[in-house]
Symmetry: C2
Subunit: 353 residues, 2 copies
């Protein structure tokens, strides 16, 4: 298999734990029965607990990757009378803009640079809008927005708050009640440390009341909500990944809950950032999440060359960027089953380069 003995520091896929891999090595069970329903219901309950979701919130389990989460939310929650402020701070913000454009929803794009939106009330005018869309961690550059400030802003301006938390759930704080979040989009191959293929959309009561009747079958939230009551999905789900999700959520809760998980990611990120302090890199943004560190070489080295040397000479995969950032930055994920020893290996390699 390709890259079988490589260490992986990319922001999805991420390193998975032995327990998760063991489930991947087992036969996929039949799923149209009570036993699998219980698994799905348990996943829903645990996800809502970890997000501190308000009562009567629900989870939609889509067999699909993250973009399907963004797109299905736009498809299901908007009528011609709704309109959204869409935050665009990079590639994934741009994707939300593109999808909004394709579906012809009313939106205004807010391009954000060098800000984590802490001062959002002073910089963005919400007049005439009823929805707010943001990807909490703009993964293309490693930029985390301030969900506390955004939540306060959405509450004051009565905006439905839609948060793509794909690259920050379980490594950085997200709390639906405290941060006034109505919709959360999650994927399997990030902080949860599972294989790619599962995307989850979490809706509170306010968001559920916005769900429309739409043409789409595969992304029809009404059907998912209705079948989900008995722990089923309208179409064959990615059963194995859902079994892995069940195990992962139980493990997080057993280990002390979301705070412990976030604390662990924070320590790993700090550890890495300290270890490379004397190397010729600077942090690309002051608003980094625990999930990831984005580095810029401070000497003449090309970021892209460093990525290639790590891969070819050290069997270590960090994440390159494309386009104009190709030579300027590379990204190091702290998501998944990461240990200090993994970071030591990476730091040793960086020291040698």
């Amino acid at each position: 298999m390709i890259y079988e003995d490589y260490e992986i520091f990319t922001p999805g896929p991420v390193k998975m734990s032995k327990e998760i891999l063991e489930i991947g090595s087992k036969q996929t069970p039949y799923f149209r029965n009570k036993e699998f329903s219980n698994v799905l219901l348990s996943c829903e309950k645990d996800l809502l607990e970890l997000l501190n979701a308000p009562k009567n919130s629900r989870v939609i389990f889509l067999t699909a990757s993250g973009t399907a989460g963004l797109e299905s939310v736009i498809m299901n929650l908007f009528t011609k009378n709704d309109n959204a402020i869409v935050i665009n701070g990079g590639g994934f913000g741009q994707r939300f803009v593109d999808i909004s454009e394709s579906y012809n929803i009313n939106y205004k794009e807010e391009i954000v640079k060098n800000s984590n939106l802490l001062n959002i009330s002073e910089t963005i005018n919400a007049k005439g809008f009823n929805t707010f869309i943001v990807n909490a961690h703009e993964t293309s550059v490693g930029h985390l927005y301030d969900l506390d400030a955004i939540g306060k802003f959405c509450k004051e301006n009565k905006l439905l708050n839609i948060v793509d938390a794909i690259s920050m759930f379980v490594t950085d704080e997200i709390d639906m009640q405290k941060q006034n979040i109505d919709t959360v989009i999650l994927s399997s191959q990030k902080g949860l440390g599972l294989p790619p293929g599962l995307t989850m959309v979490v809706l509170n009561e306010k968001a559920i009341s916005r769900v429309q009747t739409i043409n789409s079958h595969y992304f029809n939230f009404k059907n998912y909500l209705s079948d989900g009551v008995r722990g089923q999905t309208p179409y064959t789900p990615c059963v194995t990944i859902i079994l892995q999700l069940e195990a992962k959520l139980k493990q997080i809760i057993k280990d002390g809950g979301i705070e412990v998980s976030i604390q662990k990611a924070k320590e790993l990120a700090s550890y890495f950032r300290k270890q490379i302090k004397d190397l010729p890199f600077k942090e690309y943004t002051p608003f980094m999440p625990n999930a990831m560190t984005t580095l810029t070489p401070t000497n003449d080295n090309s970021a892209s060359d460093i990525v290639n040397i790590l891969e070819n000479d050290y069997k270590i995969m960090v994440c390159p960027n494309g386009g104009e950032l190709k030579d300027k930055i590379f990204r190091v994920s702290h998501m998944g089953d990461m240990q200090k020893s993994d970071i030591d290996n990476l730091v040793n390699a960086l020291n040698k380069i």
Copy 2:
């Protein structure tokens, strides 16, 4: 894990081979690089070979379940000037009808009972239509249509021939050139014996020329076709299942190709059907595929009770039906990594019941 030590005879998920499970136990590699592109290109090449696809055919790899394949084909290949004959012989035919209805395409539904469409030229009038849609194996009851006759009919009437081959690929014959098929829909968790989560749409040149510009991002064939040239997908694919697909396709080719695979399934199906000849069951339809056997109890036993006894007393999962067929039929799959010894276990249990 649920059903860890059960034998599985459901028509998806199916029993997987050791080699496939071993890949499931490995870290998911990063995929935005040449090495993974080569994997995807190899999958495309091998799939096209096994389908005997004409030159310049292409494969779209969707991280999604089978219904997304049906729906995306309807979304991408139809304009207001196109119209389709949709075969409906059960639950999955009905799904194609429902999707056609939702997208407001011009179609006529042909309800088919007690026929494998061998005499299609005499029974269906194609005048005024340009597209034909059929699910080759109507899995809800285990009914296989005659793809040779359908292909001839489509050629004579200049119909674009769209075949959902989800539950018959690699167990029953499908040949794009010989059977004049323009579009094939496949899924991972059936004959290929992989976990659920991957759906493939195969298009020949004629079908590619029908691909429209559409609003959808996640199901936008134009983007998949364009990124696919370099072995990539627009959004994070289900990397692990694709690596499993690569291994499976190479194995089929190494073992002698699609004919050998079909022959093996045929022998297993015959073996099972012979073994149960003296038991109080009859075959539900004379048009059974190699992929599956559908049985009706000939005494007073309820099919649903038999399914439950097999599960509870023998740790064997066969497939129940719902609705009015609940007590009348149950289904036994021969897809996946099935051996005669597996069938012996099931037959022994049926003998005891």
